[in-house]
């Protein structure tokens, strides 16, 4: 034991150096993380500051108006809110069932290369620029019919489809294989297992993915430019005509030379931002609940 006389538990010089480097690296990473949060906070603060003044009761209940004598702009964005709801509803009705079916097929039925090809195709569709989707629908639908909320919904559904399918696949992958085995071992067929066990077990998560896709679609602007932009100020719920929408209102109001319209644009931006934030937070909470249900 005598050879341990020089033994000490105090840090060596090299260890002190490592600890310093470690501290430095941690600070750098923390700064990066804080920067990401700062961006979100800055956007929220900027939009709230400039937009909150516009939020009156009229803003939500009245369409935009122009004073006949003075030419001053007023009113609200009721027509845009109604339009966005109709357009996004059209998109959801199309994209949600198809997206879920695609995901169920790829995750539960397809094998080998079919599965890989489908996953790749979904990723490619997800990467198509939204303006391209806009002119695509313009070319194949609007030219032969007319601009309408339905046409805009069609365009947005192409954006939502891969989002819904991919998120559904992720949720289905959370369902343990052992549950499928337990069902198969009783002689239950594959499709009954999927419909009666797998989908109910992941239902909350599937809806969460759908809701996030809705939030994403509600803010898209480019696909609406060619599909639902020649609009009136009337509040309408008719999907067969072109309807004004919140993102387009923001775009058009900010281009106008009228400061009152600028304020309206910020107000509209605040409405959109609030919608997206609330939906994101709620659906994340929902997903967490679903995950606990499966794992406990």
């Amino acid at each position: 034991m005598s050879d341990r006389s020089g033994f000490s538990l105090a840090p060596t010089r090299q260890l002190r150096r490592r600890k310093l480097i470690n501290l430095f690296a941690e600070i750098v990473m923390l700064t990066a993380a804080l920067a990401a949060i700062a961006v979100l906070v800055a956007v929220i603060v900027a939009v709230v500051q400039r937009g909150h003044g516009a939020l009156t009761k009229d803003f939500f209940t009245k369409p935009p108006s122009t004073n006949f004598l003075t030419g001053a702009s007023g009113g609200g964005i009721a027509n845009s809110i109604a339009g966005t709801i109709v357009i996004v509803a059209c998109a959801t009705v199309i994209a949600l069932p198809i997206g879920i079916l695609v995901a169920v097929y790829t995750s539960e039925f397809a094998h080998g290369w079919v599965r890989r090809v489908l996953a790749f195709v979904l990723d490619v569709v997800n990467g198509i620029p939204s303006i391209v989707i806009g002119i695509f629908i313009f070319g194949i639908y609007v030219l032969s019919h007319q601009q309408s909320a339905f046409a805009a919904g069609l365009a947005l559904s192409i954006i939502m489809l891969p989002l819904v399918a991919r998120s559904t696949q992720e949720v289905l992958a959370l369902v343990p294989t052992t549950l499928r085995e337990a069902s198969f071992a009783m002689g239950v067929s594959r499709w009954r297992t999927v419909v009666g066990l797998i989908i109910p077990a992941s239902f909350g998560g599937i809806l969460t993915g759908g809701t996030l896709a809705i939030a994403r679609a509600a803010g898209e602007t480019a696909p609406l430019l060619f599909t639902s932009s020649l609009t009136t100020n009337e509040v309408s719920w008719n999907p067969h005509v072109a309807l004004q929408s919140i993102p387009l209102t923001i775009f058009q109001d900010l281009e106008a030379p009228d400061p009152a319209l600028h304020e309206q644009a910020w107000g509209a931006a605040l409405v959109l931002l609030t919608f997206v934030l609330v939906v994101s937070v709620l659906s994340k909470a929902w997903l967490a609940r679903n995950r606990r249900k499966l794992s406990r």
């Binding site: 094998h111 080998g112 343990p176 052992t178 549950l179 499928r180 085995e181 337990a182 069902s183 198969f184 071992a185 009783m186 002689g187 239950v188 067929s189 594959r190 009954r192 297992t193 009666g196 066990l197 077990a201 249900k293 499966l294 406990r296």
Partner: protein, 282 residues
Amino acid sequence: MNENTIDTVAPIEVATKQSVPTTHKETVFDVRQVAIFYGSTVAVKDVNLEIYRNQVTALIGPSGCGKSTFIRCLNRMNDLIPGAHLEGEILYHGQNMYGSGVDPASVRRWIGMVFQKPNPFPKSIYDNIAWGPKMLGMRKDMDERVERALTQAALWDEVKDRLKRSALALSGGQQQRLCIARCLAVEPEVILLDEPASALDPISTSSIEDLIHELKRDYTIVIVTHNMQQAARVADMTAFFSLDVHEDGSRNGILVEYDVTQKIFTQPADPRTEGYVTGRFG
């Protein structure tokens, strides 16, 4: 040195009364020259055995010897693994289970399985039992069916007051008995148990073993186990699987010996079996 350790290994106690009638044994599975492949790799081969009605048949052997692979072939669970296939024949009551025109789902409907880790559905205790029968169209008298299955699995008294609660809140041992009850609820003929107690504590393990003794009256049971004492305690027949290592380093499982449990543990015919059951790997 090595010889000494072998001498100190306690002999395994075998249940004294073996209920193997030498005559009138009805064959449920007739396994003929079966080899199982994953892709082009042989997992286990040269399996020939008959599994008898209302008997407990144990499959024992070292890790990787293919006993789990083999039991999963007895209800075509391996069909779910891409690339897995089987050569040879498995006759179930004389019918080729892997013949053309046989639907794996209808095979599994009669041959249930309980897995290594308890895998209850994320549903209530009641729905865990009722779901399978419902899916198979056995909707009549569901409450009685659920009670009967839970009683058979020796779980009824523990859960009868909380049937609507989540099955995931049960203890591991209770969950495993729930999985057995779930399997019984669709009235199978055979129950395959793939190391059903390996994730459980000794007390839960012993309750599962008691249960196996009870269930033998009504069902044919095949059990894979790592635990030789367990095989000796519960099984009438025992199959010993081992690893066959070739000169090129490749290895595959083989069936070494299949006999009455008492014989396997007290006077095995094959030296490899003797090596394994006495604690020396051969």
